[in-house]
Symmetry: C2
Subunit: 313 residues, 2 copies
């Protein structure tokens, strides 16, 4: 039996060491990880993935901690994958700011892992679904995909979850960056955390108005519930859990889950193809050479198609 | 002098026939169009592009017609490019539903063109900026980029405009599709058209709330104005024009326009590279073979990386 084979068997047996080692391989990218996850793939697809996103400081980690506790109270295992494109950490380290989840660090029913990108072809957008498959194949029924910030990659990754929870605060008005990243659009559940602060009613009313504008809940579409929490005191955790279960039930009706999965799979398949074509071509898809061409295009000394020719030459 | 050379000279001389013929070449794709637009590229970059998007029936064409009249009153020429991915029409046809713009059909200072995609590498997302460059190089200072629907491609195209106008109606609550496409996120100016209908105050309040939530206008960011119009009677046209000019002025301050242009150029350059790599590889990036692989991935009889191998084989 190869080492990869032992790893795969270990993951299928829910061995924590095997899960951690395979996640490190996935993070690093490379053919061993692809081969191992391919063998796990038929055993995945059973977990429900909850994306947890929002601006830094909104209280995502505290809320995740509460949610872990709520899920554990049902007896189910839970996995947490924290996506941090900027993290200098690697290889299974639990980040310092994960300390709020340390309540559960010694619970064998909880698996917490931070993930940066370490040379994975296509970056976190491709690494995250592979990492989730590992946890999924290990039989963990609830996976929380938490983003650290609201950068474009993090929002793209969060949007692939089955249920996307967007965490705001009362009077939340520093969301320029978040708005640009499209965070309000992807919510299946809104949480207004720190609900004991001033401005709660107005923030909830603003969200209600936005949902009305967007026609949420009409024609059989999902209307994202707005849950008020004070995660630091554990208030609202049951309501958040109910909202997540409600969305999971809605997905199971009609073809909602199927449509969402199909779109997600198509996007991932295209991203893999593009990553392989780009890697195979050796083209500079970003970096100084790419940026220099963008500058020349902007200065109109080079047109975009000639620039593409230079990149592809 | 080649025929392409004559076309280029004709466009630079603002000859309507030459503009129309080159736009047809751009729509069809192919190396002649790329070569011709490359020669025009140094002369482009002067026009201001106004994107006009919103759900079908919101009144975009009527509003565009009013805006054409307002711009013409300044003496400036104006070009309109109507993006319609689903149109069966081709080659310079003015669509039937363009009839609302026929007020200006005989005005030599107005150039109106509908555009579908006819085999252009990368589709409308790549064809539209090329078409705008043709009109831009012809010295037309105002270009209106109107989308017919709110599909993903149309919203992506509209988002590349210098000033994006999103057209809503009072009580607008059928926007599920629009919301999914991210239309609310990309607005630089909101228009509530048919402002004489019930529900105006609520719709404006909902928009105000959403902008407050998103922190619009904070930290030097742009706060999209909300303009009320009754385009069928010409009401609010001046206010819309002022809002567009205000946004153009804001873009000119600090590095806002530069940042936006840089991001747009980088995205276009990557899209050209991907389109060429995909075309060069012969990979099925959509269609029945692609869809069949997605089905197998969803059925978990094939993993996404093995599917990519099949596509790339």
């Amino acid at each position: 039996m190869t080492d990869a084979g032992a790893l795969v068997d270990g993951v299928l047996g829910a061995d924590r060491g095997a899960i951690a080692r395979l996640l490190t391989l996935v993070e690093q990218g490379g053919p061993e990880a692809v081969a191992a996850v391919a063998r796990l793939y038929p055993e995945s697809g059973k977990a429900h993935v909850v994306g947890m996103t929002g601006a830094p400081g909104a209280g995502k980690s505290t809320l995740t901690n509460r949610l872990i506790g709520r899920i554990r109270a049902t007896g189910d295992r839970v996995g947490v994958l924290a996506i941090d494109p900027s993290s200098p950490f690697t290889g299974g380290a639990i980040l310092g700011d994960r300390v709020r989840m340390q309540d559960h660090a010694v619970d064998p029913g909880v698996f917490i892992r931070s993930m940066a990108t370490r040379g994975h072809l296509g970056g976190l957008a491709l690494a995250a679904p592979q990492a989730l498959r590992v946890l999924d194949a290990a039989g963990i029924p609830w996976l929380i995909l938490e983003t650290v910030g609201v950068g474009q990659v993090e929002v793209e990754v969060a949007a692939t979850a089955d249920t996307v929870v967007v965490v705001l605060n009362p009077g939340w008005g520093d969301g320029v960056q978040a708005n640009k990243a499209g965070i309000l659009e992807i919510a299946d559940v809104f949480v207004v955390n720190k609900a004991d602060r001033d401005g709660l009613r107005q923030t909830v009313a603003d969200l209600e108005g936005m949902l009305a504008l967007a026609g949420a809940g009409r024609d059989g579409s999902w209307r994202p519930p707005i849950v008020e929490t004070v995660a630091s005191r554990g208030e609202g955790t049951d309501e958040l859990w109910s909202a997540i279960l409600g969305h999971r039930d809605w997905l199971a009706t009609d073809d909602h889950a199927h449509d969402r999965r199909t779109a997600r799979i198509a996007a991932e398949l295209r991203a893999i193809v593009v990553a392989r074509l780009v890697a195979g071509s050796g083209v500079a898809y970003d970096g100084p050479e790419f940026d220099a061409l963008v500058d020349r295009i902007e200065a109109r000394t080079l047109d975009p198609y000639a620039a593409a020719d230079e990149l592809l030459a």
